[in-house]
C-alpha cells in the first residue's frame, strides 16, 4: 500500500486538526508555567487555562456551569458516575444497555463496593431507549442515571431529555449524567436542554489530542473526586493541568460546534453515497436503528466475519472499524450489538463506518466500490 489509507473509523479517533496543533504548540515549547504558581509564567498559564475553560463553556452554552478538565473521556465518565454515587453514599445506578465500558465498569465498581446495584435501562424494539418502561422501573432510591447521547458503535441517538425529565420527578436526588463523547459536534449539547447534571466530552473524537476530556457539570452538583492531591480544577480533579492538551481540547470543541451544521450535511451525503453504492449487494446493508446520526454507520456484511472484511477493505486502501471480533478466542460480543437483538454470528459480521467533518462523499464512494469488488469473494465464505 503506497498511498495513505482513507480513514473511515472516526468514531475510534480522529486526526488532530491543524488549528488544534497550533493552539497546543506554545505549551510544548516556551510556555512552561504551572498555573498554580504566582510568578509571571504561572499567571500566564493560569490565564490560558481560564481562557480554555471559557472557550468550552461558550461552545456548549455552559457559562453558568463548571468545566472540569480530565485526562480522558473515560475519566470524565468515571468521575460523573462513581463520583456522584459516592457523594450519595447509597442507591442504584441506572445505565443504558449499550453504554461505553467507562460507564458500565464504573457502575459495576459501585456495586462491588457495596454502594448499590447496577441496573440496565430497557430498550425499545428499534434499539432506542424505552423511556416509558424505564420510568416505571426507576425509583426514588436511585443515586445516578447515566446514558449516552449517541451510541459509539451503531450511531443511535437516545431520548435523553425525556428520560431525565421523568427521572427528575421520580428521583429528584439522583445525579443525571449524559455521555456526549460521540455526540459532540453532531448534536446540540446543552446541559439545560438535556436536563442533565453533567455531560462528558473527549477531545480526540473531534480532531483534538488524545489524553484530554472534560466534564461539564452543574456548580451545585454533588461529586466526590476520584483523584486526590492539590486543589486544581476546583478540587474535583487534582494534578497539575496538562496545559497543551487542555488548550487543544478547547480549540477542538470550539471548532466541532462551529462546524456542526456543515458536518451534518456532509455526513448525510457520505451516508447516502455508501447506501447508494452498495445497493443490490445481497446481504450487505447499513443497519437502521430508529433515530441515528449519519456519521456512525453499522454495516452488516455477508459470508466472512467482519474482521476478514475489515482486512480485505484495508488491503484496498480503506480503514474501517469492526463491530465485534471474529475469533472464538475473543468471544466477547459487543453489548450494543447484543442489545439490538443480533445473534452472535450476525454480531461478528458487523463493520463500523464512521465519518469526520474531513470525510468526503467521494471517499465513501470509493469504499462502496471496494465493497462491490470484494462482495463476490467474501460473501461466499463460510463465517
Amino acid at each position: 500500500m503506497s498511498e495513505p489509507a482513507i480513514y473511515l473509523d472516526n468514531a475510534a479517533t480522529t486526526p488532530v486538526a491543524e488549528l488544534v496543533r497550533i493552539a497546543m504548540a506554545p505549551f510544548l515549547a516556551g510556555s512552561y508555567g504551572n498555573p498554580s504558581t504566582r510568578y509571571a509564567a504561572g499567571v500566564r498559564a493560569s490565564e490560558a487555562l481560564g481562557e480554555a475553560r471559557r472557550l468550552v463553556q461558550r461552545a456548549l452554552g455552559a457559562q453558568k456551569h463548571k468545566v472540569v478538565f480530565c485526562g480522558s473521556g473515560t475519566e470524565a465518565n468515571n468521575l460523573a458516575v462513581l463520583g456522584a454515587a459516592r457523594a450519595r453514599k447509597a442507591g442504584a445506578i441506572w445505565i443504558g444497555a449499550t453504554e461505553h465500558a467507562s460507564v458500565r465498569r464504573s457502575a459495576e465498581a459501585w456495586q462491588a463496593e457495596g454502594g448499590g446495584p447496577c441496573r440496565i435501562l430497557p430498550l425499545d424494539g428499534q434499539g432506542g431507549l424505552d423511556v416509558a418502561r424505564a420510568l416505571e422501573q426507576i425509583d426514588a432510591q436511585t443515586a445516578v442515571v447515566s446514558v449516552m447521547a449517541v451510541n459509539n458503535e451503531i450511531g443511535t441517538c437516545y431520548d435523553v431529555a425525556r428520560l431525565f425529565a421523568g427521572v427528575g420527578r421520580i428521583a429528584p436526588g439522583a445525579h443525571k449524567h449524559v455521555d456526549c463523547i460521540q455526540a459532540l459536534g453532531k448534536l446540540d449539547l446543552d446541559l439545560e436542554d438535556l436536563g442533565a447534571d453533567s455531560l462528558s466530552i473527549s477531545a480526540h473524537k473531534v480532531h483534538g489530542p488524545k489524553g484530554a476530556g472534560a466534564l461539564v457539570v452543574r456548580s451545585e452538583a454533588r461529586l466526590q473526586p476520584l483523584i486526590f492531591g492539590g486543589s486544581q480544577e476546583g478540587g474535583w480533579r487534582a494534578g497539575t493541568e496538562n496545559m497543551a492538551c487542555i488548550a487543544g481540547l478547547a480549540r477542538a470543541v470550539e471548532l466541532a460546534v462551529a462546524h456542526q451544521d456543515e458536518f451534518q450535511r456532509s455526513a448525510a451525503a457520505c451516508r447516502a453515497a455508501l447506501e447508494t453504492g452498495i445497493e443490490g449487494l445481497a446481504g450487505l446493508h447499513v443497519r437502521r436503528t430508529g433515530r441515528a446520526v449519519d456519521a456512525i454507520l453499522s454495516l452488516q456484511v455477508p459470508g466472512a466475519p467482519g474482521e476478514v472484511w475489515q482486512h480485505h477493505i484495508e488491503a484496498m486502501g480503506f480503514e474501517v472499524g469492526v463491530g465485534s471480533a471474529c475469533q472464538a478466542r475473543t468471544a466477547e460480543i459487543s453489548p450494543a450489538l447484543k442489545a439490538l437483538g443480533l445473534a452472535d454470528h450476525e454480531a461478528r459480521q458487523v463493520l463500523r463506518v464512521s465519518f469526520s467533518r474531513e470525510t468526503k462523499p467521494a471517499e465513501v464512494e470509493g469504499l462502496a466500490r471496494a465493497l462491490r469488488t470484494l462482495h463476490p469473494r467474501l460473501s461466499e465464505v463460510r463465517p
Partner: protein
C-alpha cells in the same frame, strides 16, 4: 547498604566439555557481556572455572540479569577484599551485617560460613578459615544460629591469591548451555503459548533461534503480525538479536481450501509450513526446525498427524514440549514473560480456513494424493522470495 563490586558467575555442565571448554567459556562470557552492557559499564572475564564481572554501577540488577543467561548455574553479587585475615574478617562482618539488615526472615536465621582456599600460600586451610571468621563475626545467638547441615544463610569466602571476595547471596541461574554453542534453529512461531516456550527451551540447550511465522493478509491484519514480533522480541531477551521471517501464506491457504479435502486442510497447511520453513532454513543455515507441538494437544498433534507434518522435512524438527502438559507450558511461559503477550486475543489463523471436522488420524497417501494437484514448488519459491524479514532487537547489544 554496601554495593557489591564483583559478580561471581558459576557455570554448570559446560565445565565438563573437555577440549571444547575454552570455546564454551568464551561464548558464555560473550553472552553475559551482551546481556549486561545495556545496564551500564562492565568488564567480564573468565577466571579459574568462574566468570567474573566488574560492574561500575547497578551491580545487583546486573547480577539478576546475569542469572538469566543460559549456561549460568548461579550468580553471587560479591565484595572484594585484600589477602590478609583481618581484612577478610572485617569485610565479612560488614557484608554479613548488610545481608542481615536486608533479610526479612524471622530470627534466629540458621547460618554457616563456607570458605574456599584456592591460593595455597594463604596460611589457613579452608575449614580453619571458615571457623576463624565465624568465631570472630557471629553477632549473637538471637540473630544467627550456626547450622552447618541445613543453613538458610551462607557467608561464602573465596581466597584466590590476587583476588579474594566474600558474599552471601546466591541467585540460581537457568543452567543449560551458552546460546550459540549448539548451532542455529528456526522456530515456527504461531502467536500461541507453546512456540515461544519451545524457542526458549531450545536456546537453553545452546541454539541460536530465528523465527518464522505464516501470515494470511488480508484475512488477518497487521495486529497479528505485531503480536508475533512482540513475542519474538520477548523471548529473544534470553539470546540477543534474532531475525523473524514473515511468510505470506494466503495463496497457500486459499489453494488448499479450494482444492483439497476439507478434513485434511490443517495437516496440509502444516506440511506446507514444514516445506517452506525447510527452504528458509536451507538458505539461512538453520540446522533444525523448532515447533511448540505437544502430543495429543489438538487434532493436528496426534502421533499420526505429527508424523505427516514431519514427513516433508529435510532436517530435524525439534519439539521441546512434545511430552509437556499444557500447564507446564503455561507456567514456563509465565516465568519467561511471554504468557501475557500470547494470551492477547489476536487470531493466528483465520477461522474461515479451518475445517469443520479436521482429520485426527491422517494417512500419508491421502496427503500425497491431494498434494499432486497443488503448485507446491511455486508456493515455496514465492514464499521465500516474498517473505518479510524483520530484525528482532532484543534490547541487548549484539554479542
Amino acid at each position: 547498604m554496601i554495593e557489591p563490586d564483583v559478580l561471581v558467575i558459576r557455570y554448570g555442565e559446560l565445565a565438563l566439555k573437555g577440549g571444547n571448554r575454552a570455546r564454551y567459556e568464551q561464548a558464555l562470557a560473550r553472552n553475559i557481556r551482551a546481556a549486561l552492557r545495556p545496564l551500564g559499564e562492565v568488564k567480564v572475564r573468565v577466571a579459574q572455572a568462574r566468570i567474573l564481572a566488574y560492574p561500575t554501577r547497578r551491580a545487583r540488577a546486573m547480577a539478576r540479569r546475569a542469572a538469566e543467561v543460559f549456561g549460568v548455574k548461579s550468580v553471587s553479587p560479591a565484595y572484594s577484599v585484600g589477602a590478609d585475615l583481618d581484612a577478610i574478617v572485617e569485610r565479612s562482618r560488614e557484608v554479613l551485617m548488610d545481608a542481615l539488615e536486608r533479610d526479612p526472615r524471622p530470627r534466629p536465621i540458621r547460618f554457616a560460613v563456607r570458605a574456599k582456599r584456592a591460593d595455597k600460600t594463604f596460611p589457613l586451610a579452608s575449614h580453619l578459615l571458615a571457623r576463624e571468621v565465624a568465631g570472630r563475626i557471629l553477632p549473637g545467638p538471637e540473630f544467627l544460629k550456626v547450622d552447618l547441615t541445613d543453613p538458610e544463610m551462607v557467608l561464602g569466602i573465596e581466597v584466590r591469591g590476587n583476588e579474594n571476595y566474600v558474599f552471601v547471596e546466591r541467585i540460581p541461574g537457568p543452567g543449560g548451555l551458552p546460546v550459540g554453542t549448539s548451532g542455529k534453529g528456526l522456530c515456527l512461531l504461531s502467536g500461541g503459548i507453546d512456540s515461544p516456550v519451545a524457542a526458549w527451551l531450545s536456546m537453553k540447550r545452546g541454539l541460536t533461534v530465528d523465527f518464522v511465522s505464516f501470515h494470511s493478509f488480508p484475512y488477518l491484519g497487521d495486529s497479528s503480525k505485531a503480536k508475533i514480533r512482540e513475542l519474538a522480541r520477548a523471548v529473544s531477551h534470553y539470546q540477543g538479536p534474532a531475525r523473524l521471517f514473515v511468510v505470506p501464506f494466503t495463496a497457500v491457504q486459499e489453494g488448499i481450501r479450494d482444492a483439497a479435502p476439507e478434513r485434511y486442510r490443517t495437516v496440509l497447511y502444516r506440511r506446507m509450513m514444514t516445506r517452506i520453513a525447510c527452504a528458509i532454513a536451507e538458505r539461512e543455515g538453520h540446522g533444525a526446525l523448532i515447533t511448540g507441538e505437544s502430543l495429543g494437544q489438538v487434532a493436528s498433534q496426534t502421533l499420526e498427524n505429527m508424523g505427516l507434518i514431519d514427513a516433508p522435512a529435510d532436517r530435524l524438527i525439534l519439539r521441546p514440549l512434545v511430552t509437556a502438559d499444557k500447564e507446564q507450558a503455561i507456567d514456563l511461559a509465565r516465568s519467561i514473560g511471554t504468557l501475557e503477550i500470547s494470551n492477547r486475543p489476536e487470531p493466528d489463523c483465520c477461522t474461515v480456513f479451518q475445517p469443520r471436522a479436521p482429520v485426527i488420524y491422517g494417512k500419508q497417501k491421502h496427503c500425497v494424493q491431494a498434494e499432486t494437484r497443488l503448485p507446491m514448488e511455486t508456493w515455496i519459491e514465492d514464499a521465500v522470495r516474498d517473505m518479510e524479514v524483520f530484525a528482532i532487537d532484543s534490547g541487548e547489544s549484539p554479542a
